[in-house]
């Protein structure tokens, strides 16, 4: 029985390193450039396989079996389904139609994109889980993508109406809907069982994140202002004209860094809470993400992303995943002997639209 060995802690370990990850990331970057980015589907699959394979729980690694061709097929399907209408609406309609009508059409498409993105996210998750095994047992995501999209869009609307203040509740509700439908084999996860209060005391940290947005904007303006003043005061007119764009870009990055700092307490708290509310057949999970640690990997990832012009984005993702998984543990154990294979049918092609919306930042982290 799971309840008898509650004291047992099983730490997750994520062993990706620059040694076993960088060669793959560099090869992917090269091939992606050579193929005008078409290789990105295979690159993404390889990155996932590597991240899964280096993640262990109770000594056994995760296994990812998705292949690039599936993602490529999903991309090809998304061309007529999504790109063709989008191109017509945004590039052709403004010239052919009455500007007002074209604007309304664009607005309508944009509003439609909210549930569409939510659907794509759910389908992406379903695909990834269906290609994930542990101890040979396949994971899956039950539930309907459409229902998730409707619910998620409703929460998005509440977030917009409340100027973002609904976000903590929305985040927890999305997490619940997804985790309650997530299965290891035939064993479903439970989320916040018997718990009526999803949000807990996330709001103090969220307030800091919320005010971080104007604080970041202020910081960016201050840096920009000081830079411009330095140019005027010290007569730095020998600088090329585009240096003001560099200055503005730098100011923007600084503002974002300030915002990310303000948001890191909330991010850590929200992730820790989601993990803490999760159970699998009585086994609990505990995540001990620290705001400063999370902020550190975020900054390092952003630096790698910018300096590599986005080509090494997966390395940034790897840092984040590694940080989180190495601070995750399972307390107690489910009755593994009772966890059998799922009978859920796995989707046959990859993520399609998720690629268009870049929902996983090229990393493939569920």
């Amino acid at each position: 029985m799971a309840a008898t060995d509650e004291a047992e802690h099983h730490a997750f370990s994520q062993g990706a390193s620059f040694g076993n990850f960088m060669p793959l990331a560099l090869k992917n970057a090269l091939f992606t450039v050579l193929t005008l980015t078409l290789y990105r589907f295979w690159a993404r699959s390889d990155v996932r396989r590597r991240l899964w394979a280096t993640t262990r729980i109770m000594g056994d690694p995760l296994e990812y079996s998705g292949v690039g061709a599936e993602l490529f097929r999903g991309f090809l399907i998304s061309i007529p389904v999504f790109f063709a209408p989008a191109i017509f609406i945004y590039y052709v309609a403004p010239f052919l139609m009455d500007p007002g009508a074209a604007y309304l059409l664009g607005l309508g498409f944009y509003l439609l994109a909210v549930p569409l993105i939510a659907t794509a996210f759910y389908l992406m998750r379903r695909y990834q889980l269906s290609r994930t095994r542990w101890r040979g047992i396949r994971m899956s995501l039950a539930g309907g993508a459409f229902e998730y999209a409707i619910a998620s869009s409703g929460w998005s609307m509440l977030e917009a109406i409340t100027l973002g203040w609904y976000h903590p509740a929305a985040r927890m509700r999305r997490a619940r809907l997804i985790w309650e439908n997530t299965r290891l084999g035939d064993e479903p996860f439970q989320f916040a069982e018997g718990e009526t209060d999803l949000v807990g005391n996330l709001y103090p940290t969220f307030a800091l994140a919320w005010f971080g947005a104007p604080i970041g904007l202020l910081a960016a303006s201050a840096v920009n202002f000081l830079g411009v003043r330095a140019i005027v005061t010290y007569n730095l007119y020998f600088l090329p004209p585009w240096s003001i764009f560099v200055l503005a870009g730098f100011a923007l990055l600084f503002g974002l860094a300030v915002f990310a700092l303000c948001a890191s307490w909330f991010n850590a708290a929200a992730m820790n809470r989601i993990a803490g509310l999760l159970t699998l057949d009585g086994a609990r999970f505990r995540l001990n993400a620290k705001p400063m640690g999370l902020y550190g990997v975020t900054l390092a990832g952003a630096a790698i992303f910018i300096l590599s012009l986005g080509l090494l984005a997966p390395v940034a993702g790897m840092l984040q995943v590694r940080y989180i998984l190495n601070r995750l543990e399972m307390i107690g154990a489910p009755r593994f002997a009772d966890i059998g294979q799922t009978r859920a049918i796995a989707p046959s092609q990859g993520e399609g639209l998720a690629d268009a919306f870049d929902l996983d930042f090229g990393v493939g982290v569920i």
Partner: protein, 375 residues
């Protein structure tokens, strides 16, 4: 006998078992007896960065994780399971070829289709594009400040433009000409047939023939619909990039729709040059002005006094000066009187650096009756 970690694919439980690499397969000592996995049904399930994991086809979820010693035994019996994984060079080459074919098809297709689309574009469409172009322009250029000789300068400019248009057989309804204030020296044509000359360019021009050359060149872009064709072509290519990048190239497509920084391809530039030479010649003007202007621009950029803005939309001035070399007709009258030229050079708040001396007489003069002595 060697040891391995086994999961049967039916439950999430791993057990330690004994395995033996045999001639026709791997023998697993399971609770219920020995199970043989034939070599040709075995495949790798790991990512080559940790212990070797084997699976059996068809997929049942059963896995066998080998320790180093066992892996060595298996390697000896079935080396094919330890061959280097494919580096996908074939796939990469195929994708490169695919990308290249798609790119060539798109560029070629856009070039071929853009012309008929542009030529048959309904007036509404052109008007909308012109509206967007004007909106974009308003960020980069501003109306000229008024000056005392505006009317005179404009009249001279209109007169010259009309003479060129008429000689080339372009209906006056298709074009007009504007001078604007901007931080860069350039002349360009908008989709609706408006020729726009910046004050910096006027300041840069040395002779009325150079101005005539620039106007005639832009008139060529108007007469042959180069702007619409280029815009449609760029949009087609932008949409293609957008699709290939999976929707993340949207900025590129929008950026491609930029009238001011619009680059015509070299073919359109030479076509406009040839048009200019023909039009100027038919108008009785000296087409040498255009070549002279390009030569000067080339020299200036060679001397580090670069005119990047002008070059960015009208590339390679020295080559084009060369191509136009034979076109000069020296001895033809100047494109404008000194008085008109001075008025043009004083437009848009500019100061004419070398105003002509005031005319000594007011009365009508005929050359036969003795021109006033030149100073």
């Amino acid at each position: 006998m060697a040891r391995a970690r086994y999961v049967n694919g039916l439950a999430a439980v791993a057990v330690e078992i004994e395995v033996e690499a045999q001639r026709d397969g791997l023998a697993l000592q399971l609770e219920g007896g020995t199970q043989l996995w034939p070599w040709d049904e075995i495949a790798r399930a790991d990512d080559r960065v940790g212990p070797v994991v084997l699976k059996r086809k068809p997929e049942s979820g059963a896995r066998l994780t080998l320790d180093a010693e066992t892996a060595a035994d298996v390697r000896a019996a079935a080396p094919h399971l330890f061959r280097l994984r494919s580096q996908r060079f074939g796939l990469v080459i195929a994708l490169m070829a695919f990308a290249a074919v798609m790119t060539v098809t798109t560029v070629y297709g856009a070039a071929r289709l853009a012309e008929p689309i542009a030529r048959n574009a309904p007036p509404d469409f052109v008007a909308r594009v012109q509206m967007i172009a004007e909106a974009q322009l308003s960020y980069l250029v501003s109306p000229c400040p008024s000056g005392p000789r505006d009317a005179e300068g404009l009249a001279a400019l209109f007169d010259l433009t009309d003479r060129i248009g008429e000689a080339a057989g372009v209906s006056p309804a298709r074009y007009d000409i504007h001078v604007v204030e901007a931080d860069f020296s350039n002349a360009f044509a908008t989709p609706g047939g408006r020729i726009i000359v910046t004050d910096n360019l006027i300041d840069l021009l040395d002779t009325p023939d150079e101005l005539a050359g620039v106007i005639a060149h832009e008139m060529g872009h108007v007469a042959e619909d180069h702007v619409m064709v280029s815009l449609i072509k760029n949009m087609g290519i932008g949409v293609f990039i957008d699709i290939v990048l999976g929707g993340q190239g949207a900025g590129l497509t929008l950026a491609s729709f930029n009238v001011v920084s619009l680059r015509h391809d070299r073919g359109f530039e030479s076509a406009a040059d040839r048009f200019a030479v023909r039009a100027l010649d038919q108008a009785g003007l000296d087409p040498g002005g255009l070549a002279a202007f390009f030569r000067r621009v080339a020299e200036m950029s060679g001397a580090g006094l670069g005119l990047p803005e002008l070059l960015s939309t009208h590339p390679d001035p020295s080559r084009r000066a060369e191509a136009l070399a034979g076109a000069a007709r020296p001895g033809r009258p100047a494109a404008m009187t000194a008085q008109d030229w001075s008025a043009v050079k004083s437009m848009c708040g500019l100061e004419d650096p070398a105003p002509p001396p005031p005319a000594p007489f007011d009365g009508p003069l005929s050359p036969g009756l003795g021109a006033p002595p030149k100073p």
